[in-house]
Amino acid sequence: MMKFAVVSFPGSNCDEDLYYAITDDLHEDATIVPHTATDLTEFDVILIPGGFSYGDYLRGGAIAKFAPVMSAVKAFAQAGKPVLGICNGFQILTEAGLLPGTLQHNRQMQFICEPEPLLVANNQTMFTAAFQDQQQITLPIAHGEGNYYCDAATLAKLRDRHQIAFTYQHNPNGSVSDIAGITNEAGNVLGMMPHPERAVEAIQGGTDGLLVFKSLLQAHLRTV
């Protein structure tokens, strides 16, 4: 069994959804790990869920980056193992410096929850290999601060190094270059605003999200 850690901060609210996506739908092993954990080496993947860590009262992810578990997350990422941050998890990864750029308030200054058409901009990553190149997919978004921003130089680097994993087809929040998800330079850390864990069963309205987790599983099976 592949072992997924779902890191739960006070205020995370998609941790159980991720847990069930892995156990019920991917049929792999998942553990919800508290923000106080210091050693994550036993896991194959770290998932950082959506929600409002510490209430997000200062800025999405701004407090969570100081949580005890974050040094273990950084060590895990530096070891080249996969880290996936979704929604608030993406915000936490940018705040923690594991991904470039930042996530601002949505352009219209309102929370948006809706199914969002996306393009798989790069299917050559361990998170997206199960998709076709440029595949059109639909995943739910649900965020108030999902407007990705980075400066022109960073954007040029993201493009040159194929770090843009997902883009919006109808940019819902004002993100630079329609960016919905990016990887780090090494390709083992992915942050994305859309919620793949909410699209793993037909009853939820679609199953495109399951391919993100299947990609991770395929990558893992190649290494063992």
């Binding site: 006070p10 205020g11 609210n13 998609c14 159980e16 959804d17 069930y20 996506a21 019920d24 959506g50 929600g51 409002f52 510490y54 209430g55 997000d56 009262y57 309102q110 929370f111 948006i112 929850c113 809706e114 739910p140 649900a142 108030g144 919620h195 864990e197 909410r198 793993v200 009853i203 939820q204 309205g205």
Partner: protein, 739 residues
């Protein structure tokens, strides 16, 4: 810190009568002093009596009427009287739900008023031992041409979104209506639904002499003091500055509180004797009610209560309505287990008192006994007041409504689709996270929202409904219709209605006409509930919905939950493909009393006679239920505001379909609001079977097409429109009005 200001003595209270401003009448004060405690109450005690005897806490005016509700039924595990009602849904699981109003706070401070409305009802749900799985909001505002109403709508929605999204409970639906009668008195009613294993059921009881009373959650501040009294008075523009009576919410704190309490309920049920939310009238109501229900007494030391600021008096501590607080009763000697769990969540948890055997309510502060009264005097001895009732003059000699002439049905349809009450609410709903918890099967916008029960085949359908224009015309029949429409929504979604909660939003009980309306609606609701086997398991009364002497339409909001036995039976309102046969279920008459068409034609105050027949309603619901069970329906949609025309259009939008057909109805009847009707769509291969099942209850209207066109030939004309244009009108109207 030394309290400098001295409180009035009991004799000064008697002479200066400050209690009158707190809502306690002279007669009540005398009854309490002479009959219940045998002496003059001190300042703190007088304050406690004032809130505990307010309508908001005691239901003293509404109780004689509320007894007429029907709350039996084979599924009922817990009826009214606890945090929320509980119904058996099989597999040793139960659904828990309740609705609550936050009308006055939402007018004064709409963002926090609406947000704390959400927070309060969530605590009622998890205090029963249930995980909150969905919430719905029923909102009413004045017309959007007034900037104040646009502001109230925008801010209330933002407050609901801010609280609900953060705490991780999907906001799956609700409804929003607009009418000038809600100017200055918007309605914000929130319903929360929870799911639990029956074994986890908890109640708000302080049982077992010597057991500990533990205070948990946010610190107590000076906010919301006398909020319950505030809600039990008529509103005036002068009080619009009464912001200190409104609380401020912290959804992050509430999330921690929910998780911690549910952990204790799951893992340490045997040491948790009772748990209750500190809602209206905060610490006093929760502790006194827990003692009352357990027939015990309580002693608390107020110096131990976590306080946000120094120098708070006993009166202020007890009456504060600071949010995100719970009161627990824990077995003596086991307190540390509970305190440790709350410490792990970084929450304050303090033993503040203990249960006593003598049924006395005692409070100590700074070493002094500041309150010593029987528990029963605060909770059980409140004198009910059956108020005089009078049928309003407008309801004498009511004539049938006139049938409006409709020459251009397409224009009429477009105008109706642009009415804010009818138009798409997606501009609002998309601000709510409707999918967190990953169980939402039908998102906001269909007849009812549907949430599946993970690891089972079951799902729960839920809806809120009330057409107050009908209630205004006939509170009894209108009450029946409100329940019936909710049930139609559940049935159209593939569910069996199993129970209701309500928020009874009415005018002042001291107005005989308002009181009569309340009585009539409750009886109408009760009769329909019995007919549909949907017991009233919880609810809330909000009276005094009057501003400057003008009352709202009586608005008894019905929140209904239905059980879908198999997720395969989940049905939505949208036609799915071209070529489906579309049927109208139920007879259509000339029913324009209180209709949206009547309002569109300038009759702002509804007029005319309602027609309604519970038997026809039940028969049509049974037909749709059976057809869904036999897997014959592609879609089912209840007909409500705007009648057949609006319902038909709504069913086309999601899959961008067209429609062509013919009907014996007239142009006007396309917009008649005859009750008890559905439109359903059937695949050609299933038509014979469906027609055999339906007999004369359903009539074929036409077929869906893949053209961008709606064509319906009527008895006296034709409706011709482009589906895309109707959709654009429907989709864009509210957004435009909100700008």
């Amino acid at each position: 810190m030394q309290e400098l200001k001295t409180e009035p003595t009991p004799a000064e209270i008697r002479d200066q009568k400050p209690y009158e401003a707190w809502g306690l009448s002279q007669r009540e004060y005398e009854y309490i002093s002479q009959k219940l405690i045998g002496r003059l109450p001190n300042y703190t005690e007088t304050g406690l009596f004032a809130v505990m005897w307010s309508e908001h806490c005691s239901y003293k005016d509404s109780k004689p009427i509320l007894r007429k509700f029907w709350n039996d039924g084979s599924r009922v595990i817990q009826g009214p009287g606890e945090g929320a009602g509980v119904l058996d849904i099989g597999d040793d699981q139960a659904v828990v739900f309740k609705a609550e109003s936050h009308n006055h706070p939402s007018f004064v401070e709409p963002f926090e008023g609406a947000a704390t409305g959400v927070g309060g009802i969530i605590r009622d749900i998890f205090s029963m031992g249930a995980k909150p799985i969905a919430s719905l909001d029923s909102l009413r505002f004045g017309e959007l041409d007034k900037p104040k109403n646009r502001y109230l709508l925008t801010e209330c929605v933002a407050g609901i979104a801010a609280y609900g999204n953060c705490i991780g409970i999907p906001t799956v639906g609700g409804e929003i209506g607009f009418d000038a009668v809600y100017d200055g008195n918007p309605l914000v009613n929130v319903m929360c639904v929870g799911l639990m294993d029956q074994a986890d059921l908890k109640r708000g009881r302080a049982t077992g002499t010597g057991n500990s009373i533990i205070y948990v959650g946010a610190k107590t501040g000076r906010d919301g003091i006398h909020g319950a009294t505030f809600a039990s008075n008529e509103f005036s523009d002068e009080k619009a500055t009464d912001r200190s009576a409104v609380q401020v919410g912290d959804p992050f704190m509430e999330k921690l509180l929910t998780d911690a309490c549910l952990e204790i309920i799951h893992d340490h049920s045997e040491i948790l004797m009772g748990i209750q939310d500190m809602g209206a009238a905060g610490l006093v109501s929760s502790s006194a009610e827990m003692a009352s229900k357990a027939k015990s007494g309580v002693t608390m030391n107020l110096d131990l209560v976590p306080q946000r600021e120094p120098g708070m008096s006993a009166y202020e501590i007890m009456l504060s309505e600071s949010q995100e607080r719970m009161l627990l009763c824990v077995k003596k000697g086991e307190e540390q287990t509970v305190l440790d769990i709350f410490a792990r969540y970084d929450l304050d948890a303090v033993v503040v008192g203990h249960v006593t055997a003598d049924r006395q309510y005692r409070l100590y502060q700074h070493g002094k006994l500041v309150t010593d009264v029987p528990v029963t005097s605060l909770v059980d001895d409140v004198v009910e007041r059956e108020q005089p009732k009078k049928k309003p003059a407008r309801l004498e000699n009511v004539q049938p409504a006139q049938t409006p002439v409709v020459q251009q049905p397409a224009e009429t349809l477009k105008n109706l689709l642009a009415q804010p009450t009818i138009a798409s609410k997606q501009a609002v709903f998309k601000q709510y996270d409707s999918q967190v918890q990953a169980n939402t099967a039908v998102t906001p916008g269909s007849d009812a929202a549907v949430v599946r029960v993970r690891h089972t085949k079951k799902a729960l359908a839920m809806t809120t409904d009330c057409n107050a224009r009908y209630i205004y015309l006939d509170p009894y029949v209108g009450g029946q219709i409100a329940v019936s429409e909710a049930a139609r929504n559940i049935v159209a979604s593939g569910g069996i209605p199993i129970g209701i909660t309500d928020c009874l939003n009415f005018g002042s009980p001291s107005d005989p006409e308002s009181y009569w309306e309340l009585d009539q609606s409750v009886q109408g609701i009760a009769q329909a509930c019995e007919r549909f086997d949907t017991p009233v398991i919880s609810g809330n009364v909000s009276m005094y919905n009057e501003t400057d002497g003008r009352s709202i339409y009586p608005t008894p909001m019905i929140g209904m939950v239905g059980l879908i036995e198999d997720v395969a039976q989940i049905t939505t309102q949208s036609f799915k493909t071209a070529g489906e046969a579309v049927y109208l279920v139920g007879d259509t008459g000339n029913d324009f009393a209180g209709s949206e068409l009547q309002k569109l034609r300038g009759q702002m105050t509804p007029i005319g006679q309602l027609n309604f027949n519970l038997d026809a309603e039940a028969a049509n619901q049974r037909l749709v239920q059976q057809a869904i069970r036999q897997d014959l329906l592609q879609s089912a949609h209840d007909l409500s505001e705007g009648g057949l025309g609006v319902a038909l259009a709504e069913a086309l939008f999601e899959y961008q379909l067209g429609f062509t057909g013919q009907t014996e109805l007239t142009n006007s009847q396309l917009f008649s609001e005859t009750q008890s009707r559905f439109i359903v769509s059937v695949q050609p291969k299933d038509q014979t079977e469906f027609e055999a099942l339906a007999g004369k209850q359903a009539v074929l209207l036409g077929r869906t097409t893949d053209q961008d066109a709606v064509q319906l030939v009527t008895a006296d004309g034709q409706l011709t429109a482009r589906s895309s244009e109707l959709k654009a009108t429907f989709g864009g109207a509210l957004g435009c009005l909100m700008k």
